[in-house]
């Protein structure tokens, strides 16, 4: 196992390096001078020269990258062009907000997907088996932003059951925070719940046809024990890892969900930064996303290898 972990870590390094170069290069790919992009078009030649020197733009490109990477590794992500706030501080404020939404959405997705997937696997030819097919086809085709609008129309405006925008930290006012979370979490979870339901069904169908399940049935166990203790338990291995891989879908969906519900998270920050061309904030956010992504993928791989030894020896 130790050797496998080391190998995966070594493989991760070039990817992270390439990703960091891509994120860093972004600012040089913008048409025009980054100093002008930062200061705006109305600057004197002298101001421009000073800004270029301060930003290190007069040095060779590899030197600029090395200096930038050195700062990033120490946790210095620069300062927002627009708000003059350190990007690190902005990230620290927004990450817990998006995390609250993401965790709520993951719980909702599991609550929808697990029963649907299990029922569909136990009774493949029943109406619920067909329901899973229809549900996942719909949930994968309905765009997140339209689903959000539909939920606002129905539960916010028509029935007036739930608030349609705002955010409260869960530790400050749990009741209100939950009410505010329901619609965004439902919106964000739809796509992932469809993926998980499909996957749970497939994984369980596969274990149900295994010899050890037949043996369990043959020795007279009740169906509930056969499915719960034998089939589901073994199906959980791939399911757990697929949950880890849904992080990407959540990050992408969060940008849109946060826009619909005026939810002050990471996604809103990124969208605003793009609209305002606030490049240090874009760089910092993307670096965070890329890094957490790589780490979650790595952890998922390791978890899978730990649970299923065949992987690490092949």
């Amino acid at each position: 196992m130790g050797k496998y972990v080391a190998l995966r870590l070594v493989q991760l390094l070039p990817v992270l390096l390439l990703a960091s170069i891509a994120v860093w290069l972004m600012i040089y790919l913008i048409p025009g001078d980054p100093a002008i992009a930062m200061l705006g078009p109305d600057v004197t030649a002298e101001q421009l020269a000073r800004a270029r020197e301060r930003m290190g733009l007069d040095r060779p490109l590899p030197v600029q990258y090395a200096l930038w990477l050195g700062r990033v590794v120490q946790g210095d992500l620069g300062v927002s062009y627009v708000g003059s706030v350190p990007v690190r501080t902005m990230l620290a404020q927004r990450i817990p907000v998006t995390l609250q939404l993401t965790i709520a959405a993951l719980l909702v997705a599991l609550a929808i997907a697990a029963p649907l997937g299990i029922m569909a696997a136990i009774r493949p030819r029943s109406w619920i088996g067909r329901l899973v097919g229809v549900y996942s086809a719909l949930a994968m085709a309905v765009p997140t932003f339209w689903l959000g609008i539909l939920l606002v129309l129905l539960f916010g405006l028509q029935l007036q059951w739930l608030p349609t925008s705002g955010f409260v930290p869960i530790w400050e006012d749990p009741g209100r925070a939950l009410r505010l979370l329901i619609l965004p979490a439902l919106t964000l979870s739809a796509y992932v719940s469809a993926v998980l339901a499909r996957f749970t069904r497939a994984a369980l169908l596969e274990t149900i046809s295994q010899d050890y399940v037949r043996t369990a049935r043959a020795k007279g166990l009740r169906e509930r024990a056969v499915v719960g203790a034998h089939a589901l338990r073994n199906a959980l291995i791939p399911i757990v890892t697929v949950v880890g891989l849904q992080f990407g879908a959540f990050m992408g969906g969060a940008v849109i969900t946060e826009a619909i519900f005026d939810y002050p998270g990471l996604g809103r920050m990124l969208l605003q930064a793009i609209l305002q061309r606030d490049y240090t904030v874009i760089q910092g956010t993307m670096l965070f996303v890329v890094l957490s992504f790589a780490l979650i993928n790595l952890l998922t791989d390791l978890l899978y290898a730990y649970l299923d030894p065949r992987i690490r020896y092949s």
Partner: protein, 303 residues
């Protein structure tokens, strides 16, 4: 993994071949995929509407009339009117243009860049291939909408740049798929035999391997088109794609959500259009998968 019908038939002994009914051709099998055919029908109607938009739509999609503001759906305005009194039905029809065009352009960009990349990587291998593929893996894992947003951040918002961004983020899937097929096909006997004839790598890659990898690629094209249309709508919804007053389904929903109180229909019809188009394309992809593809259906992305 991706043996074409012709190959199977050619490889079968004459006696068996005689028993294979003539209607087992690819087209004939495609015609049995009812959901896929229905999807194809919906798409054909949409494409016709998009092409003939100025002729079919009852009103000018840009014509404003404040007196007609927020009219609910009626015979004169089947989908109602928006905040400037524009006919939403006409705007939805015109919106099909940008949506379908994005689907087509994205598939074109992704295939033209991704397929050669995958062929070269799979055929020659080496460390350049290893590093490129690791990086593409990584791009595949990062959500497409975020990648597209970053590309827009560099290029600036707009219809054309959105199409470009959506095309670029679709490249890795094509490269990965082509590379996997190339790797398995290049060791097959018919490729080795062709190589033994003394033909060069370009012929082997494009004339021998590529045609035999075309099944899964066809499926990928349908999936990519669906994802591209979702992404374009999402970008326009975020204000990064097609900009007002030009009609696009995503930007209509973006404006519509500010007026849900006065005009609930505004948030309804453009969404039905996107969902219908994407469902149809997914059905076509599933049908193609059942007929020509091997293995599992390539995954799409969320938007």
């Amino acid at each position: 993994m991706s043996v074409t019908e012709a190959q199977v038939v050619a490889a079968a002994p004459a006696a068996i071949r005689a028993t294979v009914p003539a209607e087992r051709g690819t087209l004939a099998r495609l015609s049995r995929q009812r959901a896929g055919l229905a999807g194809l029908g919906v798409l054909a109607v949409l494409a016709l509407l998009a092409l003939a938009a100025p002729l079919v739509s009852p009103r000018d999609p840009l014509a404003q009339d404040r007196a007609d503001q927020f009219r609910p759906p009626s015979l004169a305005n089947p989908f109602g009117t928006d905040e400037f009194g524009r006919d939403i039905f006409s705007r939805v029809i015109h919106g099909a243009r940008i949506s379908l065009l994005t689907g087509a352009v994205a598939v074109l960009i992704a295939a033209l860049v991704g397929v050669p990349l995958g062929l070269l990587g799979g055929f020659f291998g080496g460390w350049v291939d290893a590093v490129t593929m690791r990086f593409l893996d990584f791009l595949l894992a990062v959500p497409a909408i975020l990648l597209a947003m970053v590309i827009i951040a560099v290029l600036g918002p707009g219809s054309f740049n959105a199409m470009l961004a959506v095309g670029v983020v679709s490249v890795p899937a094509f490269a990965r798929l082509t590379r996997a097929s190339t790797l398995s096909l290049k060791e097959r006997e018919f490729v080795l035999a062709t190589r033994a004839l003394g033909v060069g790598p370009p012929y082997l890659m494009f004339r021998t391997i590529l045609p035999n990898a075309s099944g899964p690629l066809l499926v990928q094209m349908a999936v990519t088109a669906a994802v591209a249309m979702l992404l374009e709508a999402a970008l326009s919804f975020l204000g990064l794609g097609t900009r007002p007053p030009d009609p696009s389904w995503g930007s209509m929903l973006n404006t519509g959500r500010s007026f849900l109180h006065q005009a609930p229909w505004y948030g309804l019809f453009p969404g039905i259009a996107i969902t219908g188009a994407v469902l149809s394309l997914n059905a076509v992809a599933d049908a193609l998968q059942a007929v020509v593809g091997g293995g599992s259906r390539p995954s799409g992305a969320t938007a």
